[in-house]
Symmetry: C2
């Protein structure tokens, strides 16, 4: 059996409790018996949806990200409510941000975004057989829907209008599965 | 020209300044003139390296992540020192964590990991023509090198031993480019 690298918690110091994230500093015992500190962001988790239209376009939303001080194009996503089923959250966020409802919503996988300092996990879904509707975002959320071909998505990755992990993953996924029209 | 969704900063409140991350809360003016708050984690940025051996295996490191309270398999990665060239950081982290030096180190792309609340950016490199050496990690860092085929990597994704954004992206990238041996 391989050696465990577990870090045991000696002490947890809460630093901040916010609307979206909490921050704590843990003092930990390392595998060699020494101690260190870990700065840990607690996040409720999120879903992200890869919506593909009947004519093979990827549905993105343009939005301003204060953390980056720029606008980027992302797949629709949103935070989980406490205890919420990720599938229900995926349906809601897709409809709120894009207006689309999906006849077929398939769980693809989950991943942690920043395991070095945060517990944020994203549950990723593929949305197909889309039915058009009307977007209705939260009152402090401003987004614009943009539908792109594979070539447009790859171009947006080159010029960093697409510039976040989940959306870069999504474009690559669709490229691998050949689910998008080329141009 | 499309409407800007920029959120102007009204006030920044510093909350925490740590070894790795800082936290601040910004009061912002939204595009509709209303105000809201944004909880923002500041991070120095990081590099991640996708090392592929001459016999077509992906080099991963097993490590414990306190934020997740579990061990996962990740591509080698590390934080940027202040002002450091990402390429220099990539060479250093690859050698420290795996012992390998790469004759060929190619920048692939960068992406933000959690644009909703953090400015962490990862610069991703492909490392080829690897030369074996001896790993020598930081004193509070415990890792074990694991080399996997494509089939093993896909299996590890299924059972969530591979479970973070950059590594999931890396496996998919190698699958798309057909750079790994199958089994």
């Amino acid at each position: 059996m391989s050696q465990s690298f577990e870090e045991k918690t000696i002490k947890t110091t809460p630093i901040f409790s916010g609307r979206i994230i909490d921050l704590q500093v843990d003092e930990v015992e390392l595998p060699n018996g020494k101690t260190s500190t870990r700065e840990l962001v607690k996040h409720p988790g999120a879903v992200a949806v890869i919506p593909v239209t009947e004519d093979g376009k990827l549905v993105l939303v343009r939005q301003f990200r204060k953390a980056l001080e720029k606008e980027i194009l992302e797949i629709p996503a949103g935070k989980l409510e406490k205890g919420e089923d990720p599938l229900v959250c995926a349906e809601r966020e897709l409809e709120e941000e894009t207006g689309y409802a999906a006849k077929q919503l398939t769980f693809l996988r989950s991943f942690y975004t920043s395991p070095g300092f945060a517990d944020e996990i994203i549950y990723l879904y593929l949305a197909e057989q889309l039915i058009e509707g009307v977007a209705h975002t939260d009152e402090d959320e401003f987004v614009e829907v943009v539908e792109v071909t594979l070539d447009e998505a790859l171009q947006y990755m080159e010029n960093e209008r697409i510039h976040d992990a989940k959306t870069v993953f999504a474009v690559q996924y669709l490229q691998l599965r050949k689910l998008l029209t080329h141009d």
